[in-house]
């Protein structure tokens, strides 16, 4: 599902984060990216999703070239992608329910089915009570769950989760972990999680990749 070859990522300040990364993750595979903050985990997820450009290297998702190429637009209509962002990501002028429904409506899902999937996702993430509120009017954990609910409603082939448990209390964390377990067990779904703290995911059956700092060459 994901093929990376000789991938290099740089930070906005030009600092090299990742160099020469080769990775092949088959359909149904699960991967946990770990490493300290600022080492390129989130950036790697965005590069795989095609919303940020790598400094060098090639990225293919579902056999389709993402980089070099058209980025995320190259995957439109070919690979169903779900991305739960570490912060933001929900449209601030839409309610949580509309946020979940928008991608489904845009992809041509029949209205009844879109409604049913949206309701089911809201219920599973315990968001029904706040579903008519906009993201700025709900708690940070509800926004995180909103991101997960949108991914769930999409029923994607590839799921990218950026620190999905960060800032959640015990109850919300349990709901999110249960969902992650479902995804890891699903052979049709490829899952990549980026997390600073890998301990919370110890019971998940996932391959692990630790991102290490690129050594700075002395002049």
């Amino acid at each position: 599902m994901i093929e990376l070859h000789d991938l290099a990522l740089d930070a906005p300040d030009g600092r090299l984060l990742v160099q020469g990364l080769d990775l092949a993750l088959p359909r149904g595979g699960n991967l946990l990216l770990t490493g300290p903050s600022g080492f390129g985990k989130s950036r790697l997820l965005k590069v795989i999703a095609g919303i940020e450009r790598p400094a060098r290297g090639t990225v293919r998702v579902g056999g389709h070239p993402v980089w070099p190429g058209d980025g995320v637009l190259a995957l439109a209509g070919k690979v169903r992608l779900g991305f739960a962002f570490a912060s933001g990501g929900l449209l601030s002028n839409l309610t949580l329910r509309e946020n979940l429904a928008l991608p489904l409506r845009f992809q041509g899902t029949p209205a009844a089915e879109a409604r049913q999937r949206t309701e089911a996702a809201l219920e599973r993430l315990d968001l029904l009570a706040v579903s008519e509120l906009r993201p700025h009017a709900v708690s940070a954990s509800a926004r995180r769950h909103g991101n997960l609910a949108r991914v769930l409603a999409m029923e994607p082939d590839l799921i990218l989760l950026d620190d999905p448990l960060e800032g959640l209390d015990a109850a919300d964390r349990a709901i999110a972990l249960e969902l992650l377990q479902t995804w890891t067990a699903d052979p049709a779904c490829t899952l990549v999680i980026a997390a600073e703290e890998p301990h919370a995911f110890t019971h998940l059956e996932v391959a692990r990749l630790q991102l290490s700092p690129v050594p700075v060459e002395s002049p």
Partner: protein
């Protein structure tokens, strides 16, 4: 060499800007043609929102400005030319000053001030909040969902506002002509009709299409270029206003030269 580099940098920047604009326009047009029937409702909903904000919400402002401008134009014209039989040239004056030039131009300035700034700020905030990335990642094409409705919304609104502006400016002019000089409505409208030509309609239509494109795509360009910090938003808004104004005035001059020179 340093001098040449300094000279070349703004030229290169300007050419890059033109390239970006061309890319935005062509990509939006191409993706508009690729819209599926079931996506039209979503894009249509966004377009309606843009029409409401840019067109309907600006109606009072545009109407008031047009009435005053029409009235002031005739007051000034008559104060200078009343001894020269100016009442015979009312129509020509109104067509030349209001319909040909000030109508589309002032409407564009008002739309830039109200809507281009809002579009740039909104897209900038969306970009910072990761909303544009999230749309793209979830299969919602930003060219179709963000750019196309804003362009169409500004286009429809500009057309309606220019028609409204021209009609009310003529109305303002008529009020002054009637109250001060007793000109009848029939005489006034005949005079306007005689001065109007098909070329004026074509010029107005061309201006509406080109101005709305310039306004919408300048706003989208500067809004979507925001990458890192909230402080970039006011800068993007300022750049949008300055750049869109320059573009609109250049286009206005170009159309005048092409059609009337």
């Amino acid at each position: 060499m340093v001098f040449l580099a300094r000279l070349g940098a703004p030229v290169r920047g300007f050419l890059e800007f033109l390239g970006d604009q061309a890319h935005l326009v062509l990509r939006t047009l191409r993706d508009a043609l690729l819209l599926r029937l079931d996506q039209l409702a979503v894009v249509g909903g966004q377009t309606k929102l843009q029409v409401r904000f840019t067109g309907l919400d600006a109606l009072w402002l545009v109407s008031g400005t047009a009435l005053l401008l029409g009235a002031v134009t005739l007051i000034q014209a008559f104060s200078q030319l009343s001894g020269l039989g100016a009442e015979n040239y009312i129509g020509t004056l109104m067509v030349l000053i209001i319909l040909r030039e000030l109508g589309p131009l002032l409407t564009a300035v008002l739309v830039i001030g109200r809507s281009a700034t809002a579009i740039a700020a909104e897209l900038g905030a969306m970009q910072l909040n990761g909303e544009v990335d999230a749309l793209a990642a979830h299969g919602v094409n930003p060219y179709q969902y963000l750019l196309l409705p804003r362009w169409l919304g500004v286009l429809v609104s500009m057309f309606a506002l220019v028609v409204c502006f021209d009609a009310l400016a003529l109305g303002g002019g008529f009020l002054v002509a009637k109250l001060k000089y007793g000109v009848t409505f029939g005489f006034y409208m005949d005079s306007v009709r005689q001065a109007l030509s098909n070329r004026d309609f074509a010029a107005t239509l061309l201006k509406v299409v080109l101005f709305s494109g310039a306004i919408a795509f300048h706003a989208c360009h500067f809004g979507l270029r925001i990458q890192r910090s909230q402080t970039e938003i006011p800068q993007a808004v300022t750049k949008t206003v300055v750049s869109a104004l320059v573009a609109v005035f250049c286009l206005d001059g170009l159309i005048a030269a092409l059609l009337y020179f």
